[in-house]
């Protein structure tokens, strides 16, 4: 795979206005640009990231983060780690389910357990906890019932 630095420069030259940050081998992308960047990464003939292997969420004291791992089966490259950050209160990130169908259930899981709201998701319901459960149990400030 071409270096991450090259990918970042290519991305910024093809999509003016998009800024990304390289951090510990990951590409950090602003949530406002993420959907466009995702479409680019999938359709670009240079990379053609056609396989999204995982979507997961992380809870930090000051932010929520969604982590994506992308591979290209066609080009035999990957994984590319993409991180998208959002605030802890509202926690909105655009959904990439329209781009990669495999994101659907994993975005539901991140929504269920961490409360990241994926805007544009076709069916954003809880997947593990029941409907009516009031919390997001993998958040650090969640307090389990005491019995």
């Amino acid at each position: 795979m071409k270096s991450l630095e090259e990918l970042k420069q290519n991305l910024e030259s093809k999509m003016p206005g998009v800024t990304s940050v390289l951090e510990e081998g990951c590409l950090v992308i602003s949530k406002n640009d993420w959907l466009e960047v995702a479409k680019f990464l999938k359709s670009s003939p240079l990379y053609s990231f056609d396989y999204l292997s995982s979507v997961t969420g992380v809870d930090y004291p000051d932010r929520l983060e969604a982590v994506y791992h992308l591979y290209s089966i066609e080009k035999k490259i990957g994984p590319l780690t993409v991180k998208v950050r959002t605030d802890r209160q509202k926690g909105e990130i655009p959904s990439v389910t329209p781009v990669w169908r495999s994101a659907e259930f994993q975005e539901r899981e991140a929504f269920d357990l961490l409360g990241i709201h994926f805007t544009g998701h076709p069916d954003l319901r809880r997947i593990l906890m029941w409907e009516g459960f009031a919390f997001h149990p993998l958040r650090k400030d969640y307090v389990a019932e005491n019995d």
Partner: protein
């Protein structure tokens, strides 16, 4: 947990008569012999303990030697519920409902640390801290998971309990008995109620008999 066999027949008389080719028994003994020799479990597994339960049913350990090999796919035909595995809060109402659907007399073995107390997942947000919060349990079977020999031991303990029951006094032949355990409901942060006060007292240390 186990009560001694309350046979009314003098054991000495019984063995004397048996030497002369006369078999003496009581209706109670005969009835309990039949019941304990055909305990049909509910075919029902929740987690890794179910794998050990399956191993117990297979040829090497062969639970059928004790008459409990006919796993029934319907609670209406089962006598024994082996709660084999982690009971999540999402699964608990279904477990209680299955137990309610079993006909009397019915028994319950909790197999493994998870179904006794929640086990390694006790402090999690999603696992019920013991199925004995909602239904009465006859045999608690510790282990993670218990070996097939342990399940056979638990079954033998249950058979001893069945042997000790007196049919005139058993509660399921009393008039008007309707044992229905309330099915817990999903609440905003766990199940409602957190336990059934009729069968479970929190903080109470329960006597564990061994042997």
């Amino acid at each position: 947990m186990t009560t001694p066999n309350t046979s009314q027949v003098d054991p000495n008389l019984k063995s004397e008569m048996q030497k002369k080719g006369i078999f003496v028994t009581t209706i109670n003994d005969l009835y309990n012999w039949g019941r304990r020799s055909s305990v049909w479990p509910l075919q029902f597994g929740l987690a890794c303990c179910a794998i050990e339960m399956i191993a117990t049913a297979c040829a090497r350990y062969d639970i059928d030697r004790f008459g409990a090999g006919l796993f029934r796919p319907s609670p209406r035909q089962a006598d024994l519920m082996i709660v084999a595995g982690t009971v999540t809060k999402k699964m608990a109402p279904q477990v209680v409902r299955l137990y309610n659907q079993m006909p009397e007399p019915k028994y319950c073995i909790t197999m493994g640390a998870c179904s006794i107390s929640g086990g390694p997942f006790k402090n999690g947000y999603n696992v019920l801290k013991g199925i004995d919060r909602y239904i009465p349990v006859d045999v608690h079977l510790p282990g993670c998971p218990p070996r097939p020999e342990a399940l056979l031991h638990g079954l033998i303990k249950l058979q001893e309990k069945i042997d000790g029951q007196v049919i005139e006094k058993t509660e399921w032949y009393q008039k008007g008995l309707k044992r229905e355990f309330p099915v817990p409901e999903f609440g905003p942060n766990g199940l409602i109620p957190p336990y059934n006060p009729d069968v479970f007292t929190p903080g109470q240390s329960r006597l564990i008999t061994t042997g």
